[in-house]
């Protein structure tokens, strides 16, 4: 082996050692903690830090969109979930229309129709497999105040049970859904329902260990660290073997 190549390997060995050291420390500490989960009680510690919760998709109150329903009640959208007051009723996008009919109320989102009783109990969630359209863009009303769904496949008028839909080509008006604001206490109740008890410390340490806490990039970094450690071991043993095979220098 010529000298420059040896130097290259040594340089690689040194840099990989420096770069992977920090990640190796994180891996070791979190690994030790995970190995003693029960003794340390990691499962029983709940974290409610807003920055950390946002990493888990548990958004804070600023993203709540609320609309009035059944006079004194509310429909809120938060983190891909729809709530009737603080009770989760379905997954879905932000409501585009709320139609309060004689028999039931329909919350229309871009992909779903959510049917509720007048007490806010879920009747059914209909998605594109049960509807004549894939995407709803707005909810309009005919001149005699009947609802019209404006969709990617045209305008549709529902029957009394909202089971079958007929195409509608006449005039309609679109009324934007008026937003309302929850009080501080209502927001807290909704956040409590959405976030539950928070995230356990065990979950956070496990995700820190695997790098998942920082998403796809963090997981890849941890993978690269693992590969770097394998390369360090290989180059370290290789260097040691080369040195040990070298004939001892004799002094005259």
């Amino acid at each position: 082996m010529n000298l420059p190549r040896k130097r290259v390997i040594l340089s690689w060995h040194r840099w990989m050692g420096f770069l992977s050291a920090l990640f190796l420390v994180v891996l070791s500490i979190t690994g030790l903690a995970l190995n003693h989960t029960e003794r340390l009680g990691l499962d029983s510690v709940q974290i409610k830090n807003s920055l950390l919760l946002s990493r888990y998709g548990m958004s804070n109150g600023t993203q709540i969109k609320t609309f009035r329903i059944h006079r004194a009640n509310t429909v809120s959208h938060l983190g891909g979930q729809i709530f009737y007051n603080a009770h989760p009723i379905s997954n879905g996008e932000t409501p585009l229309g709320i139609i309060e009919g004689e028999r039931f109320t329909v919350i229309a989102t871009s992909t779903n129709l959510i049917y509720l009783t007048s007490q806010g109990e879920l009747i059914e969630t209909a998605n594109h497999s049960q509807l004549p359209f894939k995407e709803l863009t707005a909810v309009g009303y005919t001149p005699n105040k009947k609802p019209v769904l404006i969709t990617d496949t045209g305008q549709w008028k529902p029957d009394r049970d909202w089971l079958n839909f007929k195409t509608y080509d006449s005039s309609y008006t679109v009324e934007p859904l008026a937003k309302t604001v929850l009080s501080e206490s209502e927001t807290d109740v909704l956040l409590e329902a959405f976030q539950g008890g928070g995230v356990s410390l065990y979950r956070v340490i496990l995700d820190l260990h695997s790098g998942r806490l920082f998403g796809w990039g963090g997981r890849t970094l941890m993978d690269l660290t693992a590969i770097a450690i394998l390369l360090l071991i290989t180059s370290g043993i290789g260097g040691w073997l080369r040195k040990s095979r070298r004939p001892p220098t004799t002094t005259k």
């Binding site: 840099w15 049917y115 879920l122 059914e124 890849t220 993978d223």
Partner: protein
């Protein structure tokens, strides 16, 4: 700075690309196509409204409360088709069931969203559901063989098959 060999760069690139492949929604058969293929004529779309008693029975069949007060189905004569969803591990599996005379004619996995367990869509598994009936105590008349690595999906589909047979009995007295 230290040199960065081109080969190692490629290996890293391959590794990153491999991770970008994630689970997605696989549509094996569109629900409306399943309904079209299931009947010789045009079936009537109906709804079964769930009473308190029916919901209690569903809970014993499904092992959990059913969210909702009505379920859609399609009927032509004594034959009914149901499109039901149940979560395997984290995401719902959309499944079509075709039943006639209290006996299951067909089970098809229509949309699969989980990253593992998609083997449940293959005929070697779905064929087991043909001829299934409900016995006393809402149990199936034969055992469904599992697939290793797809246990949760197999369990979800077995639960749904029991539910569909029960619902068929509810709408065809």
């Amino acid at each position: 700075m230290f040199p960065f060999p081109l080969k190692l760069y490629y290996y890293c690139l391959i590794l990153l690309t491999a991770y970008s492949v994630s689970a997605k929604e696989d549509i094996y058969l569109k629900p409306d196509t399943f309904i079209e293929q299931s009947f010789d004529g045009v079936p009537e779309q109906k709804v079964l409204w769930l009473t308190k008693d029916t919901k209690a029975n569903i809970k014993s069949v499904l092992g959990r409360d059913y969210q909702g007060l009505r379920i859609r189905y399609w009927q032509l004569g004594d034959r009914t088709a149901w499109i039901l969803e149940e979560i395997g591990k984290v995401k719902p599996i959309t499944t079509g069931f075709l039943i006639e005379g209290d006996q299951m004619l067909q089970m098809r996995v229509l949309i699969y969203r989980e990253s593992h367990g998609w083997e449940v869509r293959y005929p070697f598994f779905t064929d087991q559901f043909t001829g299934l009936e409900l016995e006393n105590g809402n149990k199936l008349n034969k055992k469904i063989d599992g697939i290793s690595g797809a246990t949760l999906s197999v369990n979800a589909l077995t639960r749904l098959s029991r539910l569909s047979l029960f619902l068929h009995q509810e709408v065809t007295p």
